[in-house]
């Protein structure tokens, strides 16, 4: 085995599970996720000369993979427009405002206890890709803002904004789902009991 291949495998293989877990959330199915990870590994290997030894290999691999995802799976898709609209203002249909969050807070604690893994994954997969990527990179993979900005090639302010809004969208969707499923506390009854 060449030294280059050996160095690449030693750097990259420990991150395979994390790359796949993220790919699965981005692509929303096993088949595309496997193809995405394989292609990302091949691309990273081809461009391994550009990787600086000692720098953040994990973030570099994620950058290669997320770029591929955007190029291949998202180009020209409607999701881009939805994300741009949401970036431009707080008028996204499911966006939950501070005021609504304040009003919901007690019933939501019950919602939190009841929200299942399946509910969360379903809501996450319904998020526009730009928000989904930031939430996954931060809340699942634990990347810092500056690392996410590097991976997505965008300003830190955009990361902060998308993460905050992505979480709010998720929260709104979960509350909506809980209400549909009859899980949420009756908000009207709750407000009445509080005398508001």
């Amino acid at each position: 085995m060449s030294d280059r291949r050996q160095q690449f495998e030693q750097m990259a293989l420990p991150h395979l599970d994390a790359l796949f877990a993220t790919a699965l959330r981005l692509c929303r199915n096993d088949r595309d996720a496997e193809d995405l990870v394989q292609d990302a590994m091949v691309k990273a290997y081809r461009f391994f000369d550009r990787f600086e030894p000692g720098s953040n290999g994990r973030a570099w691999l994620f950058k290669v993979m997320v770029n591929l995802f955007y190029n291949r799976y998202r180009q020209g898709q409607r999701e881009r427009r939805v994300a741009e609209e949401a970036d431009a203002g707080d008028h996204h249909g499911r966006y939950t405002s501070d005021a609504a969050i304040r009003a919901l807070r007690d019933p939501e604690r019950e919602l939190l206890d009841r929200m299942t893994q399946r509910d969360v994954v379903r809501a996450l997969e319904a998020l526009p890709a730009d928000f989904r990527a930031v939430v996954v990179l931060s809340d699942m993979e634990g990347f810092l803002y500056r690392e996410i900005a590097e991976i997505l090639d965008c300003p830190i302010g955009t990361v902060m904004s998308r993460l905050f809004r992505g979480r709010r969208l998720l929260r709104g969707m979960l509350a909506e789902h809980a209400a549909d499923a009859g899980l949420a506390v009756d908000l009207t009854a709750y407000r009445r009991s509080k005398g508001s």
Partner: protein, 258 residues
Amino acid sequence: MSCAEVARLVHLELDGEFGAEERLDLERHLSECASCADLARGERAFVGRLRDVLRADRAAAPPALSVRIDRALDQVDGGARVTPLRRILAWSVPAAAAAVALVAWWAQVPDGQLGAQMLVGEAVARHQRELPIEVRGPDPEQVRSWFRGKLDLPVRPPTLGQPRTQLVGGRLSHLGQRQAAYLMYDVGGSKISVFIFDPQDLATERMRHRSVRGRDVWVGAEHGYNVALVRSGGLGYAFASDLDEARMLDLISAAFSR
């Protein structure tokens, strides 16, 4: 700090982006404002729960993916352009037929067969490399249980029965298009690679036949390395090493006479 800023600042704090002084400012505001303190509790609880759920739900990469990547990197090393086979198959029926024909041409054997020449070449190529080990020996039971569920065949590490022999470890590998378990042994300072795979339709006609205690063994050589192939319990075992043929056959005799 205003109440309007609190929700966003709580997220910065949760994400580890706050300094000690900023955290103190936030806590001071929360201690003085019941409404914001409640909001912050809700945000922290939601993000905490979200993280717990997402991290608990993290899927591990399927074993077959490691094999696919290893194979794809081999192709890059060989100067080939890599296209996932599944994507080729998804194009169209004629494209799929062409892809199968291409794979068969590359393997120089009829469709579905594993050619001896290819097997010897790949076994030697992988034996020469210092491939990272995914499960460490020397306990064969531990190695065996690591492979369980990762391959469509039972992996039973053979006991080589020589003095100073140790099972170093194993990893997922492949021979041609077939998944294989790769086991590495140290026999008195010499490395022995053993591949366990499905021997169905294995073409052995170009290999030399030997008989070891009534068991059929096929041997081949490439780049100064010997490869010996044997079937046992419905599985194929390919041994690769720089040991001479007689010592290889001794190892096989010891491994499969038990």
